[in-house]
Subunit: 387 residues, 2 copies
């Protein structure tokens, strides 16, 4: 069995029916926080993401990086013997999480309304594309569908290019994060009420919830916000600017930082230019300001500017690619790159847990992801012990 | 006082020193879930985002949309009388959250090590750019800095364009979500340990945690992943494709869906083409497949294709702009657009809470954001009552 017990969620048992990304990302966070996560997989190949690349020695590194520290048992929820095992697990569980199409669990006899009378303390979480209610509830969704329907693609990219997807699956990841928050809030409520509840999180809803100031801008102006290129819509300068060998990102979010920036660039007169007097003025006159800033930046390299800007206390940074991120000393110092040792693929690095807690360990190595049905025998033995 | 008490976090008191986005987004989620959030603001203008646009009748809609349902008291944490009030609040609080530069709280005498002996049950959360530890801890960061340094900008956008920022502040929002999860996990641990802990979340760490399969791809191939345009790196077809009047997003994530797609497009022969036999084959031959799919899609409108694809059960969607998102029937059915009634700006719509819980209300109107120091008298009166 996977070693557990040292995180803030130690003692919490999560039965995990989820596949691919939003659900498994949620239960990985719960496992990282100390919960015991039992992944209940289909007998036919298990979690679909086991067969989604990239692969090393035939093992999906994608699957490995989302399922570390979990146990696996393969169950056919239409088979009576397997259903009995599943129900024994539920009797001991704190949380059940599923990301089937709405209605699928009820067809198995395992909808929230079926399980609540039998397992009143169970927190039952459903992550889905469009939620358990509403006219789109039964439609299928994947990340790019909700990125497109939820508005974030309309805000991302440069004018004149085709639509731009956010380069990571924020459609799934945001839903996974909100599901985690929903599960924990239900566990906290259970401390007083003694009973679980149904947590219903939709990927589309989660996209609306992270539109941030785009809704405010539309409400204030009546104009649909368009793609933003590489700048902030209402703070200036707050963008990627060209140097003589690349780009530097500068975030001079207030008047004092803007003045300091103008001094570093040897253009102190810009700070007293009435076009750039306040953040609002700078935002209105952003094209003119950008041209002047880029002219000032053109003579030196990104590294040279980063050194000078950092010394002056101006928020700035390079545009790092993934190897640069993984090699960054701050990423190492924060243990944000952890290693699992897979017996087939070998030691593999993946993102660590960004929730650092003073009284709980944050080990640099983590238990690997399970093979399909790996923990069947141990789980069945454990179910024989008194609960 | 703002009405509280009906969510899963009812009875939880959060003292909130945060400004602008990551922290206020976290405490808005906590307030939406029923916590009482007391926003402790500076006497000089309060939360900086009160002066960040867009404005309606002089009120920042940005601020309004991040601070609904909170109370406000203005305190000078260098003033003895105000410090006494702050400490009385801490004595009753479950959670303190701050997003100052690391070290600032300790200089005020309110670092975690200062407060723990006096308030052992307090969950102390710090959200910062780079975290409380490591060589970059004291550096300033804003959203675009961590989007750039954390790698997501290197994955977003089309080949040949300048760097592309995700069109919403995922640098802040991800940190706000992880901070919320950290706080809740600490509250759950407190149920058994009886004591709080320090939750330390960094914006940069949070970006690394959402790089998702980009790290796996680099680990598997040794090649830095580049900008992805509008497609998924390892699932195909999973992208935005041109129609005769715009774009349609199609996510045919497995062989069965790909076959169904080929039938809808009247190109059944593509399903048996060996170049496109498996998802891996389709990913390797994505440019050729995309050309064939676009040729098939060119004859009809986005709406016509959406109808046909939906009927065939193929995950698909339009690329919605913000007005289209806000007008969507599913968004309405899910109560994802709530209204606050601001006495100056009038009724204002904003994103709802994506965490739907069966046993807790999800009202369509929410209490408005506070004016600076609005709740001073009530809070001082309340502090006179027995705790």
């Amino acid at each position: 069995m996977v070693a557990h017990g040292s995180g803030p969620l130690a003692g919490t048992l999560v039965i995990d029916l989820t596949r691919v990304l939003a659900g498994p990302f949620c239960t990985m966070l719960l496992a990282d926080l100390g919960a015991r996560v039992v992944k209940v997989e289909s007998r036919q190949g298990g979690d679909d993401s086991r067969s989604i690349g990239p692969f090393v020695e035939g093992r999906s590194v994608y699957f490995m990086s989302l399922n570390r520290g979990k146990e696996s048992i393969a169950l056919d929820l239409k088979d009576d013997a397997d259903r009995a095992i599943f129900e024994q697990l539920l009797a001991r569980a704190d949380v059940l999480i599923e990301n089937f199409r709405p209605g699928a669990m009820a067809r198995l006899g395992y909808g929230f309304d079926d399980l609540r009378p039998r397992f009143p303390k169970l927190v039952y979480a459903s992550a889905s594309g469009f939620g358990q209610t509403g006219p789109f509830a039964s439609r299928p969704a994947y990340d790019i569908v909700v990125q497109a329907m939820g508005g974030i693609m309309s805000l991302t990219g440069h004018e004149g290019t085709p639509p731009t997807r956010v380069g990571t699956s924020v459609g799934d990841l945001a839903a996974g994060l909100f599901t985690t928050i929903g599960i924990q809030s239900a566990l906290l409520a259970r401390e007083t009420s003694g009973q679980g509840t149904h947590v219903d999180v939709a990927m589309l809803d989660s996209q609306v919830a992270i539109l941030e100031n785009a809704i405010a801008r539309y409400e204030a102006t009546g104009t649909a916000p368009g793609p933003l290129g590489n700048r902030h819509p209402s703070i200036t300068p707050f963008e990627a600017l060209a140097t003589n060998d690349g780009f530097v990102v500068i975030a001079a979010g207030n008047d004092a930082l803007f003045e300091a920036l103008c001094r570093v660039l040897d253009r102190p007169e810009l700070a007293s230019d009435p076009r750039f007097a306040s953040n609002d003025d700078r935002t209105v006159n952003q094209p003119a300001l950008k041209e002047l800033l880029q002219a000032a930046l053109a003579g030196q390299t990104t590294d040279a500017w980063l050194a000078r800007l950092t010394e002056a206390g101006i928020p700035c940074g390079p545009v790092n690619d993934v190897p640069a991120v993984l090699a960054h000393p701050q990423v190492a110092a924060r243990n944000m790159l952890v290693t699992v040792d897979d017996p087939v693929a070998g030691p593999t690095r993946m993102a660590g847990n960004p929730i650092k807690l003073a009284d709980f360990p944050d080990p640099p190595t983590r238990p690997r992801a399970p093979t399909l049905d790996e923990h069947r025998a141990q789980i069945l033995d454990w179910l024989k012990t008194p609960s």
